[in-house]
Symmetry: C2
Subunit: 356 residues, 2 copies
């Protein structure tokens, strides 16, 4: 298993569609920001300092106990990858878009199953990320916590008794923790209840974002909910709070689904099968339409209307439909219209196996 495998395959463990509450919760994510004492934050670093941090991390992740815990962690200097390979890492949520902007002395550390990735020299020296399918926030936090402890054996993290972990951006100071879940809420959107719920969530110190993170729209009825506040609460409290709220949203989405299925079954069956028909026959498809159709197909699985498909297949198709994967399979970068053509073709080919 190498970074080449990672950029060649569309699937990841976090996308396999399993896990608790997988009818609504796509994935759970924990991200911990850490910085190494004695070095300026990445934005203010000299090349040599960045290099030293890179090497320190390289040593730290080779720790035997850490490897026993999470498997081999492969370190890749982003400069060694092509532009498109870096974009694939972004699409797979293994690195941030900002991280690949200037790849020099920036690195990513990834396990074979891609459930752990560490960005080196992004906004902070280390951004440790753990991703799991379904609603597994506590389990994912436990894993991140262990990795943090094991890295701390050889790395001296900047820590202040009063403020906690120090980070480049003040919004991360304290725990340095960002916990998030990716939710699929088609029926709350259809029932026009999602706005109200999201407003309520923001009152609880949580933030709501679209599929591609901060500032993005919620295409495909996918919502990312995460903690806003990283200070004044323990990690366990932050995780527990998000878990409780997520369970409430899950319950509301399920109740709305049941009501819709009871009162508007024909409408739902029509909508879901039409999405499948469009996916199976269209010759051009934008990202936005594809995500909306994927949402309908996913709902079809959830409601037992499309029993021939799995969540894992949908997640893989979403990945294969991204500009980065499309360019990869075309062998060259694609212009907008050409990309829509390739996207439709890719989806069509994948769905020829599915007879509905």
């Amino acid at each position: 298993m190498s970074i080449k495998d990672t950029v060649n395959k569309a699937g990841s463990k976090w996308m396999d569609g399993t896990g608790p509450d997988n009818d609504i919760v796509i994935s759970s994510r924990i991200r911990v920001a850490r910085n190494i004492s004695g070095y300026p934050f990445p934005h203010f670093m000299k090349e040599t300092e960045a290099e030293q941090v890179f090497h320190a991390v390289q040593m730290a992740v080779a720790d035997k106990d850490l490897v026993t815990e999470v498997g081999k962690l492969e370190v890749t200097n982003l400069a060694e990858l092509t532009d498109n390979e870096r974009m694939i890492l972004v699409e797979k949520h293994l690195v941030s878009p900002q991280h690949v902007e200037n790849p020099s002395n920036r690195a990513v550390v990834i396990t074979a199953d891609e459930s752990v990735s560490i960005m080196v020299n992004e906004e902070d020296h280390l951004r440790i990320q753990c991703l799991q399918p379904g609603l597994q926030l506590e389990e994912t936090w436990d894993l991140a916590d262990k990795i943090d402890d094991l890295l701390e054996k050889s790395l001296d993290f900047s820590f202040c008794e009063k403020r906690g972990y120090l980070t480049s951006c003040p919004t991360n100071v304290g725990t340095g923790l960002r916990a998030s879940v990716m939710l699929h809420l088609p029926c709350l959107v259809m029932g026009k209840q999602v706005g109200k719920i999201m407003h309520a969530i923001s009152q609880l110190g949580l933030a709501v974002r679209g599929y591609y993170g901060e500032g993005t729209e919620a295409h495909g009825n996918l919502f990312q909910v995460s903690n806003q506040v990283t200070m004044g609460q323990t990690e366990e409290e932050i995780v527990k709070n998000l878990l409780t709220v997520t369970r409430q949203i899950v319950a509301q989405e399920r109740a709305t689904r049941e009501a819709l299925l009871r009162d508007n079954r024909n409408f739902l069956e029509d909508k879901i099968h039409r999405a499948f028909g469009a996916m199976k026959y269209a010759r051009m498809m934008t990202t936005r339409e594809a995500l909306n159709n994927f949402s309908d197909l996913r709902l079809g699985i959830e409601l037992g209307i499309l029993q021939e498909l799995t969540y894992g297949q949908i997640n893989e198709l979403i990945m294969l439909s991204t500009p980065a994967f499309l360019s990869k399979s075309a062998g060259h970068s694609l212009k907008s219209e050409e990309r829509d053509w390739y996207r439709a073709e890719t989806i069509r080919k994948q769905l020829t196996k599915i007879q509905i």
Copy 2:
């Protein structure tokens, strides 16, 4: 072959999709209005008079020479049919909607292939109609003319030297002739040229209507073009005029198709395949959407994009999707939403045979 066969099968000779210019011209139709001397027009008739006209026509259509010419003509009293069977005759364009409103002493005379139908006691005593697939106006007129002559052997048609044939409505006086063609003009509609062309046509003494005749919208890009004026021109001139104009429209539609195919092939391929996908997967479909999808499928055949389908199949599907045929196959009358469900199911079932 009996009237029961006519109301049981969706196809007709005029719908078989053959004939000259069948890529654009669905069918050619000639209708001749005639009245029998000595009887008031149907609206002013007594029951006994209507009965006498009915019997006179019954005798006339049994004429040996006529049967040799067009085949057996079956006379059916509309009162003997169910409401739904009468509606099927309307959908098949064999009788007018007005003709079935009050079926008493009204009749229809139909040949086995349905290319000849005579309405008895509609607005006029006789409305002789000949329908052929493709652009065959002169041939269709020749047939109607022969039938007219052969009926005149035993029926004394009201005729005035100055005005010509007398009819119930002044707009038909003279030749009593209405010649029309049903045209499929998707690319002129897409290119927004159809309005201009139709306006020009109306300046030439021709009328443009939708699929269901006078006062109906042009759903499915289907336009019926016919002569407005029945007086002051010979039958041959009327037919020739319509034929010339039709050939010009056909040429314009073809030129627009070629231009679209050259400049927007991806767009067309997408649109046509999406229509097929919707037809193959939708669970609910309105008449309007069905006609628009049929239009795309027909265009797909015309452009060689959907080679697995035939015009005849599309025409049969249009017929099977009508409320009358849907009610027939359901075995009871259907409410709007239920009908949309049955329509989608019917189309889906028919298309399972087609692998694209």
